[in-house]
């Protein structure tokens, strides 16, 4: 009997075989705390009565939701974080470098096989490198900071196999949106999603990140890709036997297997106001938009900006429409400066902001008002997420977003 990828990762950490439903206590390789949650986690940590952090090397504080700050109380969160880091000797504080989920792999923290927890639901992103990672509340985070461990229920796995070649205007965003639509917003609750197949093998790590990132929108505990040579390049580690063993076995026991042909995918949107309300872009044609947002931990990477730039090159966004571009990290911003991507986007009329969570977290970066429509590349279109509850949010790929910005209405690339 074989093992799924999540079972292998957990078993390796706890030192014995595990099966779905087991409740096990795992050691934690990485703790990520974002700026919103820092004061709460610190308060709980202190209430719990700990006097030291289990391993200051393993804790990463990242300020991203409140950059740039829009409210006078925002910088209190930075101050509390800085003081906590100083008091307990934390080594890793990112004050202005970009979105937490981008930095956790980009800056070299999370590697294949690691177990990571973060105070944000999109912590599932690190599944893109074959790490088990998931979002938790600040009280549990405080517990981990003190003990270095957390209990988890070993999840069942849903395997998703995708084979073949994607149509030119389809990106990994369209894939994960379609899958969420098929599974529904709660269809993978408590499950691990494991993505395999030739389409997945051909994807960049960045594209996989988009899929892992949105796994939580189907309720999943994690969204995993087996690490390969591309993963190892990205993580700057050797592609050795140990890494090669990190994959779901053919004879593992899966709760469900979904099989897709890449050729069957089309550009889609998640329509207001649920992530599983999926429709083909072609059916939405003619929907007027007021704003387009390209960014977030889902789709703010260099390849996303490049995809948009390819479509926007030599063109201009529609009159009275705004396109806001928020690169996911400082590194990405600089790379997009260097290769001319930002210049193309700026020439096309995009408003390019500093790296951070931006509009996706709803505290700035392009908030909308009643009756306005936004096409956005981020991960949630919940009611009121980007302004009032009368804002219509459509989630889409960077390609669809760029084509829509030019047309001023929802359009296929």
């Amino acid at each position: 009997m074989g093992y799924t990828l999540v079972e292998k990762i957990i078993a390796k950490k706890v030192g014995h075989e595990v099966k779905p439903g087991d409740i096990v206590t795992v050691p934690v390789d990485w703790c990520m705390i974002d700026d919103i949650m820092v004061p709460f986690a610190v308060q709980k940590f202190e209430e719990m009565g700990f006097d030291k952090v289990y391993d200051p090397e393993k804790v990463v504080l990242i300020y991203d939701h409140f950059l740039p700050a829009t409210q006078t109380d925002d910088s209190r969160h930075f101050r509390v974080g800085d003081e906590f880091a100083e008091k307990y000797g934390l080594k890793h504080v990112h004050r202005t470098d970009g979105i937490c989920h981008q930095l956790m792999t980009e800056a070299g923290y999370v590697k294949p096989g690691d177990i990571a927890f973060g105070t944000d639901s999109h912590t599932v992103t690190y599944g893109c490198v074959g790490a088990f990672s998931t979002g938790i509340g600040y009280t549990e985070m405080a517990g981990i900071l003190g003990t270095g461990q957390l209990w988890i229920k070993v999840p069942e796995t849903i395997k998703i196999e995708i084979d073949g070649t994607l149509p030119g205007n389809v990106t990994s965003k369209d894939i994960i949106l379609r899958i969420i639509g098929d599974l529904t917003a709660s269809g993978a609750t408590y499950n691990s999603l494991e993505f395999t197949g030739s389409t997945v093998d051909a994807m960049s790590v960045a594209s996989r990140m988009t899929i892992s990132n949105m796994s939580v929108e189907a309720g999943a505990k994690c969204g995993l890709f087996a690490p390969d040579d591309k993963t190892c390049d990205y993580c700057k580690i050797p592609y050795d036997d140990e890494i090669k063993d990190l994959h779901g076995d053919d004879n593992a026991s899966y709760a469900k297997i979904l099989r897709y042909r890449a050729e069957d995918f089309v550009p889609v949107c998640a329509c207001p106001s649920l992530v599983d309300n999926i429709k083909p872009v072609s059916e939405l044609k003619g929907t007027k938009v007021d704003q387009v947002f390209l960014g977030s931990c889902t789709n703010g990477r260099l390849e996303d900006l490049r995809t948009a730039a390819t479509i926007l090159k030599g063109k201009h966004i529609a009159p009275y429409v705004k396109m806001i571009v928020t690169p996911a990290s400082r590194k990405i911003y600089r790379a997009a400066l260097a290769d001319g991507t930002l210049e193309i986007l700026s020439d096309a009329g995009a408003i390019i902001t500093t790296p951070g969570c931006g509009l996706c977290c709803g505290r700035g970066g392009g908030i909308l008002s009643d009756g306005e429509v936004v096409v956005a590349t981020n991960n949630r279109n919940f009611l009121g997420r980007m302004g009032t509850s009368k804002v219509q949010i459509y989630l889409a790929s960077p390609a669809t977003a760029a084509a829509t910005a030019i047309a001023g209405e929802i359009t296929e690339a």
Binding site: M37, G137, T189, G362
Partner: protein, 161 residues
């Protein structure tokens, strides 16, 4: 056993509905309270009385990991939530804050807002003369709930209480 007045919500009540991002960074839960459920039902927070319960459909608490969501519900005095299913992070966060969550597949479809329920944790809920079975929680969660939440459990571990 306790009895509670029912407030009814639908499927997929996400964390941005339970507490929008705008209010997440308020220093205290007390300041957040008036904004609970505001995108969906702006007046709900002011109507909920201590001891009332929330009944909802599938996937309650989906979305972000913001623990402010269960904290604010608890701060409103909600005695328990009964839903068809829960999103997992919300579930953990609620238990860690000592907020009782009950999974029940049928009750949602058969009760109305304003009905009074009689809840016997780990056993049954009675509404309008009908009884609904409920399961008990796994041991490790019962321990946390019984300790009054994770903070208290950790304080005990650290020899403080």
């Amino acid at each position: 056993m306790f009895s509670a007045k029912i407030w009814k919500l639908g499927d997929d009540i996400d964390t941005d509905i339970i507490l929008p991002t705008e209010y997440l960074a308020f220093e205290t839960v007390q300041e957040m309270k008036p904004y609970a459920f505001s995108p969906l039902r702006p007046d709900l927070a002011s109507k909920i009385q201590p001891g009332d319960m929330i009944v909802a459909g599938n996937n309650f608490g989906c979305g972000s990991s913001r623990e402010q969501a269960p904290e604010v519900v608890k701060a409103l005095g909600v005695s328990c939530i009964v839903a068809k299913s829960y999103a997992r992070i919300f579930f953990r966060n609620a238990i860690n804050n000592g907020l009782l969550l009950i999974e029940q597949p049928d009750l949602f479809d058969e009760v109305s807002e304003g009905d009074i329920a009689e809840v016997t944790p780990g056993k049954e809920i009675k509404v309008n003369g009908k009884s609904y079975d409920i399961a008990s929680l796994p041991d490790n969660l019962t321990e946390i709930l019984e300790a009054g939440g994770l903070v208290k459990a950790m304080r005990k571990r650290n020899g403080l209480d």
